[in-house]
């Protein structure tokens, strides 16, 4: 008699039933057979002993049990039950569960990334207003601060008019970059700015004389010593006036870089003396293409 036909108050077991439950059913079955009397006792020999080590595959467990108990491969309940549909079902369920977990993980990661971006945007928004601000006079004598240039790309250079060769070279290069970008249709014009680190000598008149030699839109900015110091600090520019000679002339030692500000007024990139005009123009074009405003 096959085990499937042994009903126990309507309960049925199958190979996918957990081991624990099966043990329970087997022991109940054994008792039931005992109570039925000696005629049913031969059926007891068909039942497997439940005290077997647990394994994943109960089909083979039972087969092994066969050998341990010394019984031959006669008609038994679980002989020949290989990797049955139970295993496939389990694998499928595990796979679905894994996919579900993976999906949840990806969603959580995307959410975290979104929040991080939001925080960064907020920080940039604050920085765009407060950071790198300056309050200077342009070479027409008009007061200018960083907010005046919002909406424009800005290329800035710090120098002084009495500079022997470096400042003219760098300004020349800066102007070439501006001209290359001007030649490209569809790009907004870049605003070139020259800020002096020698406010003692470079007043608005001196700045006006100086910038006219380079580009009609080059804006010269100057101010009091404190204002220039504040602007230089904002952009981490080092400068120091050298010793004066008999003419009261002196050279100002200063760090050399061209700074790029984006239309939000945020510092975006800087270019040292080694970069050529073409390289700088390329870099500016890339920044322009990638730009997304945080103020809108």
């Amino acid at each position: 008699m096959r085990w499937e036909e042994v009903y126990f108050w309507g309960l049925q077991t199958s190979p996918s039933t957990p081991f624990r439950k099966r043990v329970y059913h087997k022991s109940i079955r054994a008792m039931l057979l005992l109570t039925r009397g000696p005629k049913a006792w031969p059926r007891l020999s068909l039942l497997k002993p439940p005290n077997l080590p647990r394994t994943l595959n109960d089909g083979t467990l039972c087969e092994r049990a066969q050998h341990f108990s010394g019984r031959g491969p006669a008609k038994t309940v679980r002989q020949g039950q290989p990797l049955g549909p139970g295993l496939r079902t389990r694998l499928l369920i595990t796979a679905l569960f894994g996919v579900g977990l993976g999906g949840a993980w990806l969603a959580a990661r995307a959410e975290k990334e979104r929040q991080r971006q939001q925080r960064r945007t907020e920080a940039l928004r604050q920085a765009s207003v407060g950071q790198g601000d300056f309050s200077l006079l342009d070479h027409h004598g008009q007061a200018r601060c960083k907010a005046d240039f919002q909406g424009q790309w800005v290329l800035m250079y710090f120098g002084f008019t009495h500079c022997p060769d470096i400042c003219p070279d760098e300004l020349e290069k800066l102007v070439q970059v501006v001209q290359q970008l001007e030649a490209q249709p569809g790009l907004h014009p870049v605003q070139p700015i020259f800020i002096t680190v020698d406010p003692a000598r470079d007043d608005t008149a001196a700045m006006a004389r100086y910038v006219q030699d380079f580009h009609p839109r080059l804006l010269g900015l100057t101010g009091s010593a404190e204002q220039v110091a504040q602007a230089s600090r904002s952009y981490r520019v080092y400068y120091r006036a050298g010793p004066k000679d008999e003419d009261q002339d002196y050279i100002v030692d200063h760090s050399i870089a061209i700074y790029l500000l984006n239309p939000d007024g945020l510092f975006t990139d800087y270019y040292s003396r080694g970069r050529s005009a073409e390289q700088i123009a390329d870099s500016v074009r890339q920044h322009m293409a990638a730009f997304q405003s945080v103020l809108s």
Partner: protein, 79 residues
């Protein structure tokens, strides 16, 4: 004292370049470049002359340094 204009700068640089070329041709012997030296000195502010002289010294030193330096691979063969 007003800063030199672009034209004045270019005159100064030209004089400097001529003077330096003369020095190069004469292997640093300045006695044969006196004329150019005077022209250089009259074209440029004094501070600039001092600056350019120092720059020339630096460039010459840099050349010597890069040429006469013992190659690192020879001295650190075992590292």
């Amino acid at each position: 004292m007003a800063a030199p204009t672009m034209k004045e700068r270019q005159v100064c640089w030209g004089a400097r370049d001529d003077y330096w070329q003369c020095l190069d041709e004469n292997a640093g012997d300045s006695s044969r470049c006196q004329q150019l030296r005077r022209s250089f000195e009259s074209s440029c502010p004094q501070q600039w002359i001092k600056y350019f002289d120092k720059r020339r010294d630096y460039l010459k030193f840099k050349e010597k340094f890069e040429a006469g330096q013992v190659q690192p691979s020879e001295s650190t063969a075992n590292s």
